[in-house]
């Protein structure tokens, strides 16, 4: 039984590490900040979860596992928010590869708001 758990744990750890590596490569290679945030918020989260599962299967004691669960919960709750904050400021400071955008409905909306207010710079759409 323990051998089986060890193998499962090892598989989880390796998969988690691989996903985290892919996330790192994504952060390096993607063309703009917004795309990079995809890499930082998805494979990275699942990679960490898999590593936590692997560690949990190896430790097998109640309170260690609850700590790992806490790490997982906070990761799931905070990673999207962090990615959103970075993405939002990137968009607003125009650090976006606009030439790659098929559609940009937020840009249209902001331009519209700017025209209506008669101001040069686009204000936020009702925060």
């Amino acid at each position: 039984m323990n051998d089986v758990l060890d193998v499962v744990s090892a598989v989880c750890l390796l998969l988690g590490a691989a996903l985290s590596l892919a996330a790192g490569i994504g952060v390096l290679r993607f063309p703009d900040v917004l795309s990079r945030m995809h890499a930082a918020s998805k494979p990275q989260v699942l990679g960490l979860l898999l590593v936590l599962i692997g560690v949990g299967l190896r430790l097998r004691t109640g309170f260690d596992i609850t700590t790992l669960v806490l790490v997982a919960v906070f990761q799931l709750a905070t990673a999207p928010v962090a990615a959103h904050m970075v993405g939002r400021s990137a968009y607003r400071t125009r650090r976006v590869r606009r030439d790659l955008l098929l559609v940009d409905e937020l840009g249209e909306r902001l331009d519209e708001a700017a025209r209506r207010d008669g101001a040069g710079d686009a204000p936020p759409p009702a925060a």
């Binding site: 995809h38 989260v45 790659l100 009702a126």
Partner: protein
């Protein structure tokens, strides 16, 4: 979207939010957190935990929130399973994109109008949308409940529309799982 209307709406929201269930819930959660961080349960830890929790909540009171949804087991389970699957798929998708040769592939920013009018649901839907395939929330228009998503790995307009539908379906699943009666009605009324 005039400032005056905005303020009026905010006041209305404040009046409408009656349930004060959030604060005790937060205290309870903080105590549990305290115990988990210490790694053992003793009467002394319970007392100190409660003390710390009450002080923390008193110093940093949470804004009042409407919590009127009720969890429905079966739709919630359905949502949970689908969410887990989506997280896995999203990770694999983005991981594959990282190794793709052409890094100049198109992306998109779309606005998806949501059905919900609850701040809590808006927050949760945005969190979930950031974790599932393709999408990242760049902007939230709370007034009109529109989330703006950045999409990666979209080749054409058709795929953009598919992502839009997917985001709306995600919200629908969440409302069915733990939405308020108001949101549920709004969901049914949606064409």
């Amino acid at each position: 979207m005039s400032p005056v209307r905005n303020i009026g709406r905010r006041l209305a929201r404040r009046r409408a939010s009656g349930s004060g269930i959030l604060q005790p819930l937060a205290v309870g959660w903080l105590v549990v957190l305290w115990i988990l961080l210490w790694g053992r349960v003793t009467p002394g830890l319970l007392v100190t935990g409660l003390l710390v929790a009450v002080i923390a909540i008193a110093l940093f009171p949470l804004p009042r929130l409407d919590v009127e949804g009720r969890v429905r087991p079966l739709p919630a389970l359905l949502f949970g399973v689908r969410f887990a699957w989506d997280v896995v798929r999203a990770s694999v998708e983005v991981a594959t994109l990282a190794f793709r040769r052409d890094q100049e592939a198109p992306t998109a920013v779309i606005g998806v109008p949501l059905v919900t009018r609850s701040d809590l649901m808006l927050t949760l839907v945005s969190e979930v949308l950031s974790l599932v395939p393709g999408s990242l929330v760049v902007e939230i228009d709370r007034h009109d409940a529109i989330v703006y998503l950045h999409l990666i790995g979209v080749r054409d307009r058709e795929q953009v529309e598919r992502e839009r539908r997917r985001a709306r379906e995600t919200e629908a699943r969440m409302i069915r799982a733990f939405g308020s009666p108001t949101d549920r009605r709004a969901l049914e009324a949606r064409p």
